[in-house]
């Protein structure tokens, strides 16, 4: 091989060029002797720690408890009017209703970045309550965004007047706070990427499923027979962040919340049947029965006076189809 190559070179290269060729061949031979070792990776990076929203963890105990337990979840009968000395009178005197809401759940309670206003189905309910107290809600509502884990706490320490935040009425919660009548009935389902092939809760065995902390949804995921891995976050939007970043396989919560997420990302779809029933009510601090009765009368008007239907048609119907207000009975 070597001889052949130098013979070939002889014809074309003369003088110094030939000498250079010979030197090169000798050099190559010298280099060929002995192992050169392996190339060095100057900046080895094996794996990447993906960024997480603040406060992501696993299952941290059931929140809210199951909806159907042996207690009376019906609310107190409605009573309009604001007698002096009542809770409503105090709110009116203060000049503003302090409402605990969500600003991250599309369609129900969210901050519209292009207007800077809070909007959604829940927000409309708050506006109706404020309208009933003040005549006009504008300038009379102090919106307080709260994470789902804080809903009971803000009511227990009276830092808000009402919580209207996709808040399911459960027996466990009724021990600490009071609820109004049901203003919306939702049910837990599953949100997955369209190409995932997952058709419901049964397919989620061993997969990471996201829900907010101390929500009834998280408890339902943890109890599911297919044994998904619960991942808990502070706000529903954080679930969508994790989903879009491929850090969870599914989100499971009430269909309306999921529909709001699917609307923000056309690659996602809501699958499976409803496997829970969630009755949304307005949370009121324990013991403020006058406020509960007042809110119930407002909700009565909302349900029967066309406001509910108008609201539903605007926010929810485009994603979940037509529906009517829930039927309500009182204690």
């Amino acid at each position: 091989m070597r001889t052949f190559r130098s013979d070939g070179l002889r014809g074309r290269f003369r003088g110094p060029k030939r000498l250079a060729a010979v030197v090169a061949v000798i050099g190559l031979l010298a280099v060929g002797c002995g192992s050169a070792g392996t190339p060095v990776d100057p900046a080895p990076v094996g794996s990447v720690q993906q960024p997480l929203p603040a406060g992501v963890s696993g299952f941290e105990g059931a929140g809210g408890g199951p909806a159907a337990a042996n207690c009376d979840t019906r609310s107190l009968g409605p009573a309009p009017g604001i007698p002096s000395g009542s809770t409503m009178a105090k709110i009116r005197q203060r000049g503003r209703l302090i409402a605990g809401v969500d600003q991250t759940t599309y369609l129900f309670g969210f901050l519209n970045p292009s207007t800077g206003n809070l909007e959604g189905f829940d927000i409309e309910i708050v506006k109706q309550i404020a309208d009933a107290i003040f005549g006009n809600w504008e300038g009379h509502v102090q919106w307080t965004a709260i994470p789902s884990s804080q809903r009971e706490n803000v009511l227990k320490n009276n830092s808000v007047d009402v919580v209207v935040r996709t808040y399911s009425i459960t027996c466990a919660r009724l021990k600490d706070i009071s609820f109004s009548s049901t203003y919306y009935v939702a049910g837990q389902r599953v949100l997955v990427p369209k190409n995932s092939g997952i058709t419901g809760l049964a397919d989620l065995g061993g997969k990471k499923v996201c829900a907010t902390k101390s929500s009834t949804s998280l408890a339902a995921i943890a109890q599911a027979s297919s044994h998904p891995v619960p991942v808990s976050v502070n706000n529903w939007s954080d679930c969508l962040v994790l989903m879009q970043q491929g850090q969870v396989d599914a989100i499971s919560t009430d269909d309306v919340i999921l529909a709001g997420m699917a609307k923000q990302d056309p690659n996602l779809q809501v699958v499976g049947d409803r496997f829970t029933q969630e009755n949304y009510g307005v949370g009121v601090p324990k013991g403020q029965d006058d406020m509960v009765r007042f809110v119930n009368s407002v909700l009565d008007t909302v349900r029967t006076g066309g406001v509910w239907q108008q609201n539903y048609n605007y926010w929810i119907a485009p994603v979940l189809g037509p529906a009517g207000p829930p039927a309500v009975s009182y204690q």
Partner: protein, 460 residues
């Protein structure tokens, strides 16, 4: 000069001429090992005679003078190099890591700010964020170029370099969602901010501290007095004087010109070296006291202020869910006001005036912050936001923070200029010292040679 010593036996002569018992059987290596012993014996023997002793003294003095010259030249040249390194390398790098830390904090604050503005993101906020990211990237490349070999610093640079692109990616995703009116955009912003606060900024802060410590260590190093060189010089001077006393006693001649020249040269080394090195140490110390140390305090104040500003806005972004951010603000506020007070005690003149402006800005801002919290907690969210982010509101925190930040930038620039002036002065104080020492040492060695040779000749 030793060649003049012909009587008695040649010191350190060939082994074969040694009167020691013949050891022909010894190997070459053993013979080599014997050489110093034989040499010492030869020297001892010759030292018993006057001329022999004189030549031994002469050789010793010459060697001492040359060693002093070499050691002194190397030591002072080393100092000069270190001072130049402080100016050209160490201080700019500290500034670079400071820039990484500050730009990233500011990027975090600016992106939070942008989310509080309704509608299209204002061009100046967008521009500020872009500039912050570009500056952070450029400064990081500078900081990385120096972290080689300093495992700690390299690790921090690595963390920042890996996560900064991730951060900007999330921010863009937040923007894209925001522009479509999707609330998930705000969640992306919070995720990005979380990454910045829990991963990137701690690493940037550590990197800054590592670089500041290195700067301080180098300053301490360079302002240290070169005791070893000084001891050599003093030993040389002492030996020269002792030799002259010895010679005066022996020969009854008062002066030996060669040795006087050598003594003069050595005294000049001592004087010049002591003065130049003292001036240099004082100036490097001044560069630290009026320059890099107050700059460090100001930088820490500035970064704490930027982070508090982010907290102020994130509290509003969180809208009721921001108790942690407000808590953070409350911890940071005394930090930066305390640091500003510390800086005021360190600086006077123009820099002090700038710090005063910064303190005034900080006081006004903290007062406005209270108003903003009162507005927000009292239900006037949009008024609170306006007061916090609108730069056209005269008593708004945007304007007050800018005033604070601008004054700090000016004070930091003055501090850096002080550092540069003083340290450059330190460098100049050593001008010509290294070659000067070498020349003087050779002069001293030459003087010794001539002086001793003159005396030795008298023995012929």
């Amino acid at each position: 000069m030793t060649s003049t010593v012909t009587r008695p036996a040649p010191p350190g002569g060939p082994v074969t001429q040694s009167p020691e018992p013949p050891e022909t059987g010894r190997s070459g290596v053993a013979g080599l090992l014997d050489l110093p012993v034989v040499a010492v014996r030869g020297i001892m023997r010759s030292a018993r005679t006057s001329p022999g002793r004189l030549s031994v003294i002469g050789v010793a003095l010459v060697v001492l003078a040359l060693v002093t010259g070499v050691v002194g030249t190397i030591a002072t040249q080393g100092k000069k190099d270190t001072i130049n390194d402080l100016i050209d390398h160490r201080e700019p790098l500290t500034a670079a890591s400071q820039e990484v830390y500050r730009s990233l904090s500011d990027a975090d604050a600016t992106s939070a700010n942008a989310f509080l503005v309704i509608g299209t993101e204002p061009a100046d906020l967008r521009g500020r964020y872009d500039l912050d990211i570009a500056r952070a990237g450029a400064a990081l490349a500078k900081a990385a170029s120096d972290s080689e070999g300093v495992a700690d610093a390299a690790g921090k640079v690595d963390v920042i370099a890996r996560n900064l692109p991730v951060y900007t990616g999330i921010i863009e995703r937040a923007r894209a969602n925001n522009q479509q009116g999707f609330p998930v955009g705000a969640s992306y912003l919070r995720e990005a901010s979380n990454l910045m606060r829990t991963v990137i900024l701690p690493a940037a802060s550590d990197l800054y501290h590592i670089d500041t410590d290195r700067l301080g260590a180098e300053q301490d190093d360079v302002s240290g007095f070169p005791w070893f060189t000084m001891i050599l010089v003093l030993a040389l001077l002492g030996s020269l004087i002792a030799t002259q006393i010895y010679l005066t006693r022996r020969t009854n001649r008062l002066l030996n010109v060669g040795l006087v020249v050598a003594t003069g040269a050595t005294a000049l080394i001592l004087l010049w070296g002591a003065v130049a090195l003292t001036v240099q140490a004082v100036l490097v110390g001044a560069g630290e006291d009026d320059g890099s140390h107050p700059v460090d305090v100001l930088v820490r104040a500035r970064t704490a202020a930027v982070q508090a500003r982010t907290d102020e806005m994130m509290t509003l972004v969180a809208r009721g869910d921001g108790a942690d951010y407000e808590q953070n603000f409350k911890t940071l506020a005394p930090t930066f006001t305390g640091l500003l007070g510390e800086a005021r005690g360190l600086l006077d003149g123009e820099a002090g005036a700038q710090v005063d402006t910064a303190v005034a800005g900080a006081d006004a801002w903290l007062k406005t912050h209270k108003d903003i919290r009162a507005l927000d907690d009292g239900g006037s969210y949009s008024d609170a936001v306006k007061k916090a982010v609108d730069p056209t509101v005269a008593d708004g925190s945007a304007a007050e923070f800018t005033k604070l930040d601008d004054a700090l930038v000016k004070a930091i620039d003055i501090g850096r200029q002080n550092f540069l002036d003083q340290t450059r002065g330190a460098d100049r104080s050593l001008t010509l010292l290294p070659p000067g020492l070498a020349v003087l040492a050779v002069l001293a060695a030459g003087g010794v040679t001539i002086g001793i040779r003159d005396r030795l000749r008298e023995y012929r």
